[in-house]
Symmetry: D2
Subunit: 371 residues, 4 copies
């Protein structure tokens, strides 16, 4: 008799295959689920393997469009960067995959979900928090044995050669830049054009894929960092985020061009908070909903075009234009005075200095005030 | 009869020469002061020009070492970046120059200081706030006429050709990277070594100059941005910060490697505050003193070596080592369990999920709680 | 010939009467505007005085309802408190008055506005920033002479007797508490009931007036503080905010009862920002619009009833109930285990301790890590 | 044969007595530890009970002075308040007790510590995090059975009558206020004087005990709140903090009087962080060390005397004086102009309005900017 049905996030690799077998041995029915979020994978081979190992049902689904629109775009709006450097690529993938896995579990009447993420990593946390948030009654069976086996394989499967899959080595990248024009509306890209080739893309998935292609070709977005995991350990991470890096630079530029200085400052704090929440697995939480909502509001005027060149691992902003910019050439120009009275600047400075001068006066002060 | 003595921050250029003449015409005695903070300038020509225009006294002083140690190093500790992109090069120079100018004013018995910064820019504010903070009784004479003249010249003096002085165009930069090792103590660099050449530098000024040289050679640190000035206008800025960019990347890496996660998070907020204060001209203020003090405390364990390669406008971190790192290879390794019990992770996740599940439960809840 | 028309914020007192006369002497046509925001004033006497001093037109308008709904309610949602103590009473009144004054100026074709607030206070800033924000072309004529005269009178007009107008001395207040029930929806009060008397109010103005009455009767909301003005000076302020103090306590209670912990934490930061903006006169600014928008979002679930007693200057929360509370008596109760597994708490704690134990391990550590 | 030695935080009550017996049954040697932190307890009775139940050794220690100096004083400096209302009384006691318990465990060679705090409360977390932080190798044995028993007793032991032990009901409190003068140095109280009686105290423990006495006599510091526990649940808390409430009000006043506005603002954020850390049990953590260090720095000028009256549950600030105040009566007075030029205020306001007017201009703007 079955102990119940498990929906397993299945990769086709050794780890999750082992978990599949182990779950069946324990008496569970196993449904495998493999999400296509753009990774380089032989999906048909994975399907056959799952079936051959006894999966009761096999789901292989293309989530790429919703991954870009529902998860990557909000991260772009937020300028999401964890600890000043990590662009959160895998962190935003996890809730996307788990959301669909929970939907399958519900529709298939499965009481359990499982996955191959290990006990010390962030991915286990991200996966399980999403499942609990969206399907509070769910259980996640977990086996020390399976986990330990898995652990050993991970250790063996360390890639001995080049770790980078998406990006060329900048030293081997083209000697001629690509020049792109990225158009934004509401803080998300709506079109990318290769200026020299005249080629353009305008669906979210096409835009993001094209940016990955161009960024990859020029070796953009490689980092080798030490990061602080949610559970408090430091760990080394080697990441490549070619398209994300181009988008971050372009979005930062358009945002600073169009958003009010003080709104941007408050939004910067919310973006840092958003990045921590996403890194820690709290995409589906009241606070992350709230922060995303506020950030989206701040992006209403982030509209316009950014021109940039991509070359040897770098992204160079060349210029920008916007129908909603707060940039006022006349005001900033030194030839035109307009409403701006240089004398006001002196007043502004002297008032700002009142406190500084008082502070100076009190160094060495010996009397006593009473109020 | 003299109206008093003015110490004028003099550059030798058309603007401040004009101010010098105008101040003399108004009846002031003028002492000129020209600080060497590493700019490319013919200091002797400037001296002669000042004398020929009637300066009562001419000070030309090499502030490079104190500029690096007292102003750039604290900015390195802070990872100081304004609005996510600008590395504050000129913003940190201003208080350094004004500090010395005020000392001269005091020792020469001058009641006035003056400068050539314009009414709409940040530099006027930075200059004058520093002067008021350090010499509260000082006056800064300012003339609309002089200002307007100046303005026109500035407009005329726009560089028609290449704007960049310190950095090579990355397209023309060497096809072979330089590999550097930077050693930090207390969050500031104490030594830089060119790994291939074996060459090293260990005084602050030598280290910083060498990083400028290597960064410049590889086209590192060029940005073209729109920024928000203190007074609220947006303006375009084109900056090059070769050495600063290398230091920022290296310091970020060493800091994340050695500083506790939560300390770093709090310090990150202080660093953003520091950057705003410095951008806005408040280097000499009680709050900037306080923030610098706290940031310095956070840097006590930022000690170790970072290896990096500089190539085609980019800085790539290659590795790091530290006697004070919190990185625990055994703990992070998946083969060794040590104190870490995978079962704990499940408890950790389930407790973190308590709130998320309650939140889900309440969507669509219709009863009423009373306490 | 007239120099143009000025709309003067007129109080009927000596200061603004003097400004009225001075403006006429300078050749302006003067329209006076007196807003009723609940202060104790003889409005008809003020009308006659303005007319007798030559006002071309006299506006006296009851803004009480919009003051409560548009300005006080958002402050209640924000738990607005400046520097931990000041409830921003006058700070929220200023934009309300200036908004209407600007509307009058526009509809009457006046190019100028004026007021009696002094040069060192916050009220001048609040008044003028609002006018510039809503009517950028406006001018505000200002006279040193008028100002100085005004200043002297202010000095003379210091109230010699009891400073407090709205609140009884707690020592003389009733020896029996009033017990109120306040009902909230979307974070603002929709009804107040005096539990013993059965009396209730349900329009915003009636609710707020009644809370002022009850609070005043019991001596609630008196403070004597030193505060930091926008321009950097410290000044003493003596305030009484009876209704506002009751609302703050009740709202805090309902908010903590109904809003998710982490949402509340982020909102707390936004509330502090809101308070600073309002204090400094930036009610009408892009950032204050943004912050109000975000705060309003956070209040969607702040719904329910708070019971409280008002007695001898204090507000005591007696209990609360809500249809949207996240309070789960079963979960919190120690008899019922439900989903909560005490073993999870140990895991949660041990994971939180990983970082603390590593930190301890490294005190006195002498090896070197390399990654 | 013994399984090892446990140091048990023992209260003499039913819960911890049960744990003592259970630990012995499991084969542990048990050392009991009872800390006197000012609670009303029959310490000798507890000693006899522990001995009669088989404790191998009994420690009863007076930690009151170190509790006040090492734990309460830093909380006073921080204005520590959790979620705007809770003054963290029990939260600061926990690390004080656990610190000593760990010292005993080390000196007695005990490998284990135990306590009677339950699985859902904050106190278990605070206790265990402190132990792990200070004695990373320690183990904390925990029994579901013991816990469940304990749980039931707790349910039975609910105080049926008045919950408040330290404070009088304000309705029954004296009809005459006490007037106190509190003197601060470095942000902590160094002396309290009862102005009418002339009585004064000047050791930390005496000062705090006296404030508890006076506050209690007048019914100060009772709150009935819902709070968010670390683990995410909301729970009701009823607290009384008479001395702490007086100190919070007095310290807030002295701090605002003496500390620079912007320093105070940054410190306010650090104080909120401190409060969360302490509430969550992270007193002994790198980040709490860091925050305490920074806060202490901000308190260097918090020196002077505050006069206040305590009456019917309220604390009223009457006045303050300080040798280090930034309050400048001349500057703030409207009769004296000094360095302050009213014209500067206009410039200050107009510059602050530049951004607001631009924002207004752009509402409805249709052109396009390009840079």
């Amino acid at each position: 008799m079955s102990k119940g049905t498990v929906v397993l996030a299945y990769s086709g690799g050794l780890d999750t295959s082992c978990i599949l077998v182990w779950l069946k041995e324990q008496g569970y029915d196993v449904i495998t689920f493999l999400a296509n979020i753009g990774q380089d994978e032989d999906f048909e081979a994975a399907r056959k393997k799952a079936e051959s190992l006894g999966a009761k049902k096999v789901f292989i689904e293309d989530l790429r469009a919703e991954f870009v629109e529902d998860f990557i775009w909000p991260a772009v709006q937020a300028n999401a960067v964890y600890e000043d450097r990590y662009l959160l690529g895998t962190a935003v993938a996890r809730p996307c995959i788990a959301r669909r896995q929970v939907e399958i579990a519900r529709s298939e009447g499965a009481q359990f979900v499982s996955h191959g993420a290990t006990g010390k990593g962030n991915d286990q946390i991200r996966f399980e928090l999403t499942c609990y948030a969206l399907y509070p009654e769910v259980k996640a069976p977990w086996s020390m044995d399976a986990n330990l086996m898995h652990i050993r394989w991970v250790a063996l499967s360390h890639a001995p050669g080049d770790l980078y899959l998406m990006t060329k080595n900048p030293e081997d990248s083209p000697n001629v830049p690509d020049v792109l024009e990225l158009e934004f509306r509401n803080g998300v890209p709506v079109k990318v054009t290769n200026v020299k080739e005249g080629k353009s893309k305008d669906s979210p998935l096409d835009i993001f894929s094209y940016l990955n292609e161009i960024g990859g070709k020029h070796g953009v977005g490689r980092i080798d960092i030490v990061e602080n995991r949610f559970i408090g350990m430091k760990s080394r991470g080697i990441y490549e985020t070619p398209g994300g890096t181009i988008l971050l630079q372009a979005h930062l530029d358009m945002e600073t061009f169009t958003v009010d200085k003080e709104v941007r400052r408050i939004k910067q704090g919310l973006g840092i908070k958003f990045s921590e929440l996403v890194y820690n697995g709290f995409w589906y939480s009241p606070e992350c909903d709230f922060v995303r909502f506020c950030i989206a509001k701040s992006q209403e005027k982030v509209e316009g075009k950014v021109q940039l060149s991509v070359f040897k691992g770098q992204v160079y902003i060349l210029g920008r234009e916007s129908p909603k910019s707060l940039y006022n050439e006349e005001l900033v120009s030194m030839d035109v005075q307009g409403d701006y009275n240089p004398c006001d600047a002196s007043g502004f400075i002297r008032i700002n200095a009142v406190r500084l001068r008082e502070h100076h006066r009190l160094q060495g002060f010996s009397g006593s005030d009473q109020v």
